[in-house]
Subunit: 196 residues, 2 copies
DNA sequence: CCTTTTTACGAACGTATGATCGTTTTTATA
DNA sequence: TATAAAAACGATCATACGTTCGTAAAAAGG
């Protein structure tokens, strides 16, 4: 046997990415074997290498893609907002919404950093730092205008980000808590927490 | 060669646990090989099996031990405190202090849950739930007495825990931020966030 | 229609892993 | 002091892994 009827490179790569997200999210990068992944999409293990360089490359690709999209999205969500309070609200709503919709990507992006080779990790960490900086800027401006009282901007940003990102480990879109309510709860916690 | 002079089961097991914490924290459970672990403490791989049942058992042992100690410690830290506000302050201070001192255990306890076999995981999740309940109780009592305004106790507890536990990923005891300041920042964020 | 490129197969390679086992020496017990 | 238990060695097992490669069939391009 050889090339399958109806096979297309684009489709297969998309399937690899999708299955990769799923399996890494469920079992972790190290635990996921390429044999598992190949079986999931009905392929022989070796055939994967028509579409990816290495397993490590696939992981980097998934995380990098996520980070770039994340950055573009937050900039779009914050565009045109001047008031720091409004900006903080927008940040929270965006972060939660985005993370709910991409639980797998987000989870992988933070929990599998350790599985990246140093060179790859450095690139991702730099992108993540950029994202953190968006929040830091908001906090700084809010403090400068006397709206917020913040003892340490970076620590506070880390604390807020940790809180918001935490939902990825338990939130179920079909569960008891609606998205609107989730945002309301977190917005109140954070806003009231940083207010003067 | 055979049994080494001066060898003692207790010491060796302690060394295995210590090295296990270190290696799993640094590289993850799946990535850490028993050969690595054995080499770290100057043992042949097979000799580990005089002290542990399986690799999985070692992981469970480490996490379980951590959870039991955590629960005992929080109960001690909260003992005798009646006022919910005081209790919340005590919880925050305890959680941060404990987590700073046991970054490795805490990190493993949350990030390697996925590596536990279902039966083991269920046991740990139950213990973790107990810990979460300690915070839920405080929040509930504070709300009942009109001190706190909390829309959803469990969600708020998750949010607070995520924020506090987040320090494990970045805090450096020898860094810019002192422990006292760290507690102050988080206490203010949380307390002001839940206040009426 | 013919040629090139793409995509997949299936076998295989070398390596690393968790675990087992028989043996030997040291420590503890009575 | 004699005996049992504990603890380590070193060799080995079966298995699983990421990856490579020659080959064949299907798709794409002219």
């Amino acid at each position: 046997m050889a090339r399958t009827a109806g096979s297309s490179g684009e489709k297969t790569l998309a399937a690899i990415r999708e299955a990769g997200l799923d399996l890494i999210h469920a079992h972790g990068y190290e635990t996921m074997s390429l044999r598992q992944l190949a079986a999931r999409i009905g392929l022989q293990p070796g055939s994967l290498y028509n579409h990816i360089e290495t397993k490590q490359d696939l992981l980097f690709d998934l995380i990098h893609n996520h980070m770039v999209t994340l950055l573009a999205s937050i900039d779009k969500a914050l565009a045109g907002i001047e008031d720091p309070l409004e900006a903080l609200e927008a940040f929270i709503a965006f972060h939660l919404t985005y993370h709910i919709e991409r639980k797998r990507e987000v989870f992988i992006g933070s929990s599998e950093l350790r599985s990246l080779e140093p060179k790859n990790r450095r690139k991702i960490v730099a992108l993540r730092r950029s994202y953190e900086d968006r929040l830091c800027t908001i906090l700084k401006q809010g403090a400068a205008r006397g709206l917020f009282k913040i003892e340490d901007v970076r620590v506070s940003a880390y604390a807020i980000l940790a809180m918001l990102t935490g939902i990825c480990t338990w939130y179920d879109a079909k569960g008891r808590i609606g998205q609107r309510k989730l945002i309301a709860i977190h917005t109140r916690l954070v806003l009231q927490g940083v207010m003067k």
